[in-house]
Point group: C2
Chain length 481, copies 2
């Protein structure tokens, strides 16, 4: 393990983070909201830390290997969370640094779980930073899942090795740079498009930017206490539903479609599965709330499609208090939490491709019982999926479930009720945001005990980094030469 290189790269990351703080600083100065000094101080601290790391650990670049890649990913997110919390802390919007760290990592992991009980009183600069953490986190995820994880072979992501545009060098760096540039273009285009569409519809530019950041990153922080429900607007809901769905689709597919290869869309099994789940969930939720609460069918469909898209893509925006919905609607939303977006999107949780392959594997096992001597491969789009990849996916699945169970038990140990424990953990591992019980769509995470917040912070990180990437740090062999 080349720790020097790891720290050096974390230093570089810090410099970028400091640079990105100029955006909320500008907003703060423009609106003269009184938060400029806190943001400026945060920027300097982050810059200083970055420079220190870069100068101390400057090292001849011999290229990143597997382990360094994993360490950079895990520690990089943590470091972004730690320094990203500074504006919240220095501005005094939260007295506890832990709360600020929760908010910041919730942002960078694109979770959207908040400890802010009233966001509308926050200075504009702070609010902008809060939403920007989503957007930056989303950028990081696209690079991580498409460019880094496939090469590291984490949780079956090596599947995407072949699909990603750009050169296929063995060294990580040229590949990351190339892929990142290509996919960030798509990310930028979509963000711009959503800002424009929201603004055209009458949302002010500041809120349009913040909500576009939250949508494209499938994050979920809003500038309004009632989230998107604040606007009571079918237009905004529809625009955001469409962009949440787009953000839940593999960005490599978007790139192919935008460059003319529309066929790639139709042929993609994961995309079909993702849209199939969305349509089925929307149908069931619509039926459930229409039948029980008797709003008009169109109104039910509109509420249901927004919420299904929001949970499936792990965004977490809300337009209704779905905690009051009938049990069928709630169970569907709970199931969606565990499915999540597509791999290579900014969406989190287990992800469609894995669920699809687990189901295909299971059907294969049924057929194998009938033909015990036949060799029946698991196929995706006509290609055989190797046993190694399947093994890796299974391991991921169990790690995910184990983490869910252990973290839920730890929360109940603090006297938190069952529904809150289960859904708070699911909503953070899955990077969704709101859960049920006392962390429902109308509540915040502020009232939870400190220890619970620490656990949920870990859940957000683990969920976002495909679990493996963090767990592996605890395997002793990882640190050996």
């Amino acid at each position: 393990m080349n720790l020097k290189l790891v720290f050096y790269l974390i230093g570089i990351l810090n410099l970028f983070l400091a640079l990105s703080m100029t955006a909320p600083l500008t907003v703060s100065v423009l609106y003269n909201d009184g938060s400029a000094l806190s943001i400026l101080n945060s920027l300097f601290i982050t810059l200083l830390a970055g420079l220190t790391l870069v100068l101390l650990f400057r090292t001849p670049n011999k290229g990143i290997r597997h382990r360094e890649g994993m360490a950079v990913v895990a520690l990089g997110w943590l470091s972004a969370g730690i320094f990203g919390a500074l504006p919240f802390f220095l501005d005094g919007s939260q007295a506890s640094y832990l709360n600020c760290l929760f908010e910041s990592l919730s942002g960078f992991t694109t979770t959207g779980a908040s400890i802010m009980t009233d966001v509308e009183v926050l200075p504009k600069g702070i609010l902008f930073w809060r939403s920007l953490t989503h957007w930056l986190g989303g950028m990081g995820i696209i690079v991580m899942t498409i460019a880094i994880l496939p090469l590291l072979g984490v949780g079956g992501m090596q599947l995407y090795k072949a699909e990603v545009p750009g050169p296929t060098a063995d060294k990580l760096q040229p590949r990351i740079t190339e892929t990142a540039k290509t996919l960030w273009k798509v990310y930028l285009v979509f963000t711009g498009a959503e800002v424009i569409l929201l603004h055209i519809g009458g949302m002010n530019l500041f809120d349009s930017f913040c909500h576009a950041f939250g949508t494209l990153a499938t994050g979920g922080f809003s500038t309004k206490n009632a989230s998107i429900g604040h606007y009571q607007s079918v237009y905004f809901d529809t625009v955001i539903t469409v962009f949440m769905l787009l953000a839940g689709i593999n960005f490599a597919l978007h790139y192919q479609a935008l460059t003319g290869n529309i066929k790639a869309f139709y042929k993609n099994s994961e995309l079909r599965f993702f849209l199939g789940v969305f349509l089925l969930a929307t149908t069931l939720v619509t039926w459930s709330i229409w039948k029980n609460n008797v709003p008009a069918l169109a109104e039910s469909l509109h509420l249901a499609s927004f919420q299904a898209a929001s949970i499936l893509t792990t965004t977490g925006y809300t337009t209704a208090d779905f905690e009051q919905w009938p049990s069928l609607a709630r169970i569907i939303l709970i199931v969606l939490i565990f499915i999540g977006g597509s791999a290579g999107s900014t969406g989190g949780s287990i992800k469609c491709i894995r669920i699809l392959l687990l189901l295909k594997h299971t059907y294969r096992e049924l057929r194998r019982l009938i033909h015990p001597r036949a060799v029946i491969p698991v196929k995706l789009q006509g290609k055989v999926i190797s046993d190694d990849i399947m093994s890796s996916i299974w391991g991921f699945f169990i790690l995910f479930l184990s983490l869910f169970i252990v973290a839920s038990i730890l929360l109940t140990m603090m006297g938190i009720d069952l529904t809150t424990s289960f859904t708070a953990v699911a909503a953070t591992i899955g990077n969704i945001g709101p859960g049920l019980g006392s962390v429902g769509p109308t509540d915040s995470y502020a009232h939870l005990p400190q220890a619970a917040k620490v656990i949920l912070i870990l859940c957000m990180l683990l969920g976002r980094l495909e679990v493996y990437t963090v767990f592996i740090l605890f395997v002793p062999e990882f640190w050996k030469k």
Copy 2:
């Protein structure tokens, strides 16, 4: 598929079932409880159906092959449930035949979920039959999981191929007969021992028999409305805790221990895992109820160990209303539902061996990330577990979870609340019995809608028959020549 042979064997099974009805008939006559005629009629109907099948489908015995084995297992349990429901129905203790079928299949699958709201008013003969269905079901399971499933390669049970005493012929029948005889001896010895210990402690002979049947089969039907809690006796609780744990251990291991090979016990990984889970769960539950409800520590330990053993082994006896326990205690019991007993025991659910192997596999995947080129096998007691077996276990796991999710969704569609839906399904697939919500330890399943009962009956069957065995009937290829 040799359907003639399948029907012939179901006929034979019916003859045994009719024969076994002479036991409750005798009880009924001895106590002169007025149920003798209903039981006699049930016996005749079952006998007649058996004779008809045997005479109609008599076929030259060419030995059972894989598919016939599976069909006999699935249809055999169903048939036992259908005819076993007759005493309840003809006696008029339940007006609806569906309710009687629920009770009967809950018995034969050793689930112990009941639609009887007041069991203490039932005639002794009927109560005895109710408990006997557990015991007969338990016998069936021992044979099925140790002798049939390993040869069929269902859900990784082929692991046990080598461990089972008796000749290892390729044909199923001699093996089944031999293994069954050996293991039933153990089953009989344990049942006898429990009856004697309960009777010595002051329980009347009738109740001692019924509770021993319910314990050894990890069933859970009691002759008292308050289950074992009725007796308020530390002695009875302790005896039953010990026998529940014994019933949750692989009977092949018991056989080896009873014939002098005590070492097999110490060396067995699954047994160590099973006892480890039991001890950990007992500790956490004890701590949880002691800290929150402030009963004496000894009292907490006693309540916790009984309930942990009861849920882990999937028995479902209760001595306390655990629905009133703190959330930590309840979450631990919920997790135990999904673990279940050992393979080759009468316990149900996913089973310790599978959970253990899934965890080992996951740790292997973590190590493989660090050494991407190394071949690292999954081992159990020093032996390499083949990829085929692991694949089969994974398939089982997903089938189990899928069934849990789909059945829960179907229940919420009927307007049943989330807690009841989730736990009723878990408690029936896992063959436990009581759940939480409106199917908690002090409730029955009587109030659920008819359609929910049909679904839960299917869950009991699927859970008991290792899911695969029933699901496979729906794969078209299964029925082809």
